[in-house]
């Protein structure tokens, strides 16, 4: 009897003690931000946790983008997916097709009764993550785009004006020739071949990369980058490669060190690479808008989005969704956004945050940091809203494989692009089949 009483008392005390802990709902957030960016994510969570008492956001680093996504897929199958998952732009179509696995952000906000205006977001960013019915599906978090970097010291040495970066592709070729003539071993290189030279290139020239408005119209989209413009650009790059004006330095971001080390004088890559360049470059560098072909009508339009967004996973408790909504509201705050933009080099994703950053004098202090923003803050067209295709990880690999054969001299630009379309379309067909409603 005595023992029973003791137990009851103990249970009561434990229940009391655990009350405050129970009241705080935990929100699991899986992300792929390593190193300095990981600190940024943790700071955001801490700041939010300190700002209120009801919810606790717990960020967990789950490896790089595709690892985190694979982990979340496995976790979902096992029934313990996180509340929030950071997914790179390439995985967007896959997430959109997984209707039972995700809960649209618009719906989360509405059910939680949190004020949320998708219109306050930069259209080229939010449009990418919005369904055809106008509902925002995922929350834009870290967005980047493609920009042009150049080595001002190398420009000076080659007799080029360091304050006048080339604005068109013919000018890039001319500058590269001058750089080579004065001894540069690598006048121009690029990272992310598909993203920079096909995806962003298409949007920038207001030309379709794939049918059905680049996949926005539905899963029956097929690749279309064999237009005369695309061919012309790759023939141009092939010629530059033959003459040693363009030097291929590997897939994805592998070429970044060759610009930062000073080996390559001109470079196209992610605006997010700014952090590496500003930290590592021991020379004067400049940032500029992506080059284009001046005779193309409608160019320059806007460039393609990169980076990632936050997806809300389905099948969780209402209280947790309320917490997710509150957290997203916190992240949308212009002051928080502006601070993140300045800290990471990712785009400010609301117009208000851009204006706030502009007012603070940041762009004057660090010239070139506004290039990415001005490329993106434009009214998008149906052809330039973005590229959203299924099995896109595989399509990008195919593009790497095929375009590499241009630089090795195995295939002509036309042969490579045609083969990439045939092989890529097989992937799109597979995706359409596997995700039939």
């Amino acid at each position: 009897m005595k023992l029973k009483l003791h137990l009851a008392a103990l249970a009561a005390v434990t229940a009391l003690a655990s009350l405050p802990a129970q009241a705080q709902t935990e929100i699991q957030w899986w992300h792929s931000m390593g190193g300095a960016l990981g600190d940024w994510v943790n700071d955001l969570a801490n700041e939010f946790n300190a700002s209120q008492k009801d919810f606790k956001v717990v960020p967990t680093f789950k490896g790089n983008y595709d690892e985190a996504m694979t982990a979340a897929m496995a976790a979902f199958r096992a029934g313990n997916a996180p509340n929030i998952l950071q997914v790179f732009e390439v995985g967007t179509a896959t997430m959109m097709a997984a209707k039972g696995a995700v809960k649209p952000v618009g719906e989360v906000m509405k059910q939680a009764g949190v004020a949320f205006n998708p219109k306050s977001y930069v259209p080229a960013v939010s449009g990418y993550y919005t369904a055809n019915n106008g509902e925002m599906l995922s929350f834009p978090f870290n967005s980047s785009t493609t920009i042009f970097y150049y080595n001002k010291d190398a420009f000076k040495a080659a007799g080029l004006d360091p304050n006048k970066p080339p604005t068109t592709w013919p000018e890039v070729t001319l500058a590269a020739a001058k750089l080579k003539a004065t001894g540069s071993k690598c006048p121009y290189t690029t990272s992310w071949m598909s993203w920079v030279h096909l995806e962003s290139f298409s949007l920038w020239h207001n030309t379709l990369f794939a049918t059905q408005n680049n996949g926005f119209g539905g899963p029956s989209a097929r690749l279309a980058f064999d237009s005369p413009l695309h061919l012309r650009h790759f023939e141009n790059l092939a010629n530059m490669s033959k003459q040693g004006l363009f030097v291929y330095k590997g897939r994805a971001g592998a070429s970044t060190p060759s610009f930062v080390s000073g080996e390559c004088a001109m470079f196209t890559g992610s605006s997010g690479t700014y952090a590496d360049v500003s930290k590592g470059a021991k020379f004067a560098y400049g940032l500029a808008a992506m080059p284009y072909y001046p005779d193309v009508v409608g160019a320059p339009q806007n460039t393609a989005i990169g980076g990632a967004s936050l997806w809300v996973m389905a099948g969780k408790k209402p209280a947790e969704y309320k917490g997710v909504a509150e957290f997203f509201k916190f992240l949308s705050d212009p002051a928080v956004q502006s601070a993140s933009h300045k800290r990471t080099g990712y785009l400010p994703i609301t117009t208000a945050a851009y204006e706030l950053t502009d007012k603070s004098g940041f762009y004057k202090e660090k010239p070139g940091t506004d290039v990415a923003v001005t490329q993106m803050i434009r009214k998008t067209t149906d052809k330039s809203r973005g590229i959203r295709l299924g099995n896109f990880v595989q399509v990008r690999t195919i593009l790497d494989e095929e375009t590499e054969q241009i630089w090795t001299g195995k295939k002509t630009a036309k042969e490579a692009l045609t083969a990439a379309i045939t092989r890529g379309n097989e992937q799109l067909e597979r995706f359409e089949k596997a995700n039939k409603p």
Binding site: A97, A98, K249, N391, Q394, A434
Partner: protein, 296 residues
């Protein structure tokens, strides 16, 4: 004779009981996943497993309609033969020398075994650092001393050399251990007798040691083929990622890429079934034809 080779059990259940632990491990870690792969290879499902449909042999059909997949067979054959032959011969040479060393034998042995403790992905990164076209130590040395512009990003031969070197380096330790043990189990009296008869070291190696090593060599041949076919995707992912073009994209790398990076489980499972069939066939062939030449 037969009585020495085969143990005779009186009880009917005891041999099965003794086999059970090993059988259980094989069932859980091999048969079950293999059965899953077979099942998934005939399905098509979305990444989150929300919908599943039976597609029969469709996954296989689209695989064999893809010319890039067929090319991968050739690449895999070249890669596997190179890895097995180079890996076996290099480690045999090392084992023979290590067997003869009198002083500091333990040190040499330990040094040769160390690479086995390195994870494949780490090994890949290590090699890619050394051979990075503009920054790597080895690439620099090649340019400096041999005027060779090393570029595995655009030169297929260079790329293949790089992945073979990394894969062989990783496996040498394992082969070395078995060869060394094999060499040490050869009775000294045999070699001494031959020496007294006037056989030179080279002759002794060819006529006595190598034939007596044949069971070890055969075992290692099978293991190395399996290694080259299945365990090398991390090395390739960390070095060439299958490039330039598809020139180093071996079969298992595509399984990994499509399944783990692309989330296409059906297609990936179909590829692994194809791979499984190839390796089983190769192993059966080896046991039927090569094993006849082995002297136990």
């Amino acid at each position: 004779m037969a009585a020495e080779k085969y143990a005779v059990f009186k009880s009917g259940w005891l041999p099965w009981a003794l086999l059970a632990p090993q059988g259980l491990i094989i069932a859980v870690f091999f048969f079950w996943p293999a059965a899953q792969a077979l099942l998934q290879s005939m399905q098509m499902q979305d990444s989150f497993g929300l919908s599943r449909q039976w597609v029969g042999l469709d996954n296989f059909r689209s695989l064999f309609a893809d010319s890039a997949y067929l090319e991968a067979f050739q690449t895999t054959a070249v890669f596997s033969v190179l890895v097995a032959v180079l890996g076996l011969s290099l480690s045999l040479v090392l084992a023979v020398f290590a067997d003869r060393v009198v002083r500091g034998a333990l040190l040499y042995r330990s040094m040769l075994i160390v690479p086995y403790a390195v994870a494949p992905a780490v090994a890949g990164v290590l090699w890619v650092f050394m051979f990075a076209p503009s920054l790597g130590v080895v690439a620099y040395a090649l340019r400096h001393f041999f005027e060779l512009e090393w570029n595995h990003l655009l030169n297929s031969m260079h790329a293949m050399t790089l992945i073979v070197a990394a894969a062989v380096w990783k496996q040498i330790s394992y082969n070395f251990l078995f060869f060394l043990a094999g060499l040490q189990s050869i009775p000294k009296s045999l070699i001494e007798a031959a020496a007294i008869d006037g056989a030179r070291p080279w002759h002794r190696f060819w006529t006595i040691q190598l034939p007596l090593l044949s069971p070890t060599t055969f075992f290692l041949l099978v293991i190395n083929m399996v290694y080259a076919f299945f365990d090398t995707f991390a090395i390739i992912d960390a070095t060439t990622q299958g490039g330039p073009g598809r020139d180093t994209a071996i079969l298992v790398f595509k399984v990994y890429q499509d399944g783990f990076k692309g989330g296409d489980l059906g297609g990936s499972a179909a590829q692994s079934v194809v791979l499984m069939v190839i390796v089983v066939a190769l192993t059966v062939l080896q046991f039927r034809y090569v094993e006849k030449k082995v002297q136990y």
